[in-house]
Symmetry: C2
Subunit: 254 residues, 2 copies
């Protein structure tokens, strides 16, 4: 009976490590969202008991932080100037240099798109970032993003006194707008496998057009724009907007 031929959870062969636990957590988060990550299914997946997991991780919060950090490190690794890469400079697979050095502006766009893609692939990230920022304790993941954005702000020639504001403004837009886009994608996916992004945007537009004209004149007026909305284009336009604000500031206060 103990060795019955029926299918069962695959017996663990490797030792249980923190990395394996975190990797499994990321998989569960991707598959079923934040509520899908429970110690019950995690122990099942890893073929252990809860005690074993608690031996490698202090609690669920730490597990979530570790999962966030792992995924962010991966996303920032695309940026050759990122702290994650600098810390792990032994990787010989990183492409050396192709063409001329990218400008800070190009790097910021690439950084933003990289984070946006990461959030799109791991929608639970958005809530996690927000929780980290609004819980104040600057944890590794958010701190690394702050650092990556800040380096490019500095490279942009922003006067030192404005580094913090400029970096904050950029970071909040990058993370906020990316989270919103990812939410739209997720909602579109839920509408059905065939239903495209456009179908969902159209639904929201129609929704907004149905709002009370007294209470929501602006939202109603903007609804039709949402309909023919290109996420990526709008996202980059927003980045350009903040960058324009930064360079205006450079000219006046520099």
């Amino acid at each position: 009976m103990t060795s019955s031929p029926t299918r069962r959870a695959p017996r663990r062969t490797d030792a249980l490590t923190r990395e394996r636990i975190v990797a499994a957590a990321v998989e569960l988060l991707d598959a079923a969202g934040p509520d899908g990550l429970t110690f019950r299914v995690l122990t099942e997946r890893l073929a252990t008991g809860p005690g074993a997991i608690y031996h490698h991780v202090a609690n669920k919060g730490e597990l979530l932080e570790a999962a966030t950090e792992a995924v962010v490190a991966e996303a920032l690794a695309a940026d050759p100037d990122s702290p994650a890469v600098a810390a792990d400079s032994a990787t010989a697979t990183a492409p050396a240099h192709r063409g001329p050095e990218p400008t800070p502006r190009q790097r910021i766009r690439a950084l933003a798109l990289g984070l946006s893609d990461a959030i799109e692939r791991h929608p639970w990230l958005a809530g996690q970032f927000a929780a980290q920022i609004s819980r104040g304790s600057r944890l590794p993941a958010t701190l690394r993003i702050f650092e990556s954005v800040g380096r490019q702000v500095r490279a942009l020639g922003v006067p030192e006194s404005a580094w913090f504001v400029a970096t904050s403004a950029l970071m909040h837009y990058i993370l906020g707008a990316a989270g919103q886009n990812a939410a739209n994608s997720a909602a579109a996916r839920e509408l059905g496998p065939g239903a495209s992004r456009t179908a969902f945007l159209d639904a929201t537009a129609t929704d907004w057009e149905g709002l009370d004209p007294e209470e929501f004149p602006f939202t109603r007026a903007v609804a039709d724009q949402v309909r023919r909305h290109d996420d990526r284009e709008q996202y980059l336009a927003g980045i350009d907007l903040v960058l324009a604000g930064i360079s205006a500031l450079r000219q006046s206060a520099g």
Copy 2:
């Protein structure tokens, strides 16, 4: 025994209404954060059973939404041009008109400060906003904020094609930076009743200065600025930065 003279939960006199439930929820959230709101303590506080609450509210999520909406409506009520006020124009207590009409820029600053104060008073709001935005379904609270900001963007003379980007950029900064500030305040409060905001900022600065110079050069460099940081001033500077970006865009694409 049933009518023993020992102290017990105050017997309810008024009928249980959705508003009373929501008000109690806000109190609990303020006092103990998101984890402090449970049906157990809520029923105790309202001297009922869980079934009674479920008769007025579908589930915990709806309760959180309602709490958020209630607090946001209050915060936006300060803005005479807000949808919340327009919908409730019967209030005779609203101050009519004092001095000249404020400019859109002044209104945006007032709006931002009002929301910042609300988040400061109800720190759980930050997480709630983030959850709403990153869950995509544009719920009343976030939608009202979008509307309020958008009206001023329109009043600013931004070309229609840029309404959405400009409003998004402003909103993400307003909410993101306010959430971060509130988190700092909360963390400072936890440091002790006497410990001021400055003490906490100093601690973070020292923290950052201790980071690895290879991995976090920018964050280290910016640490000292954080030490002599005036939250409100920096917050408004960030708003000005985004506004500068908006007007740059108005000149080029207008």
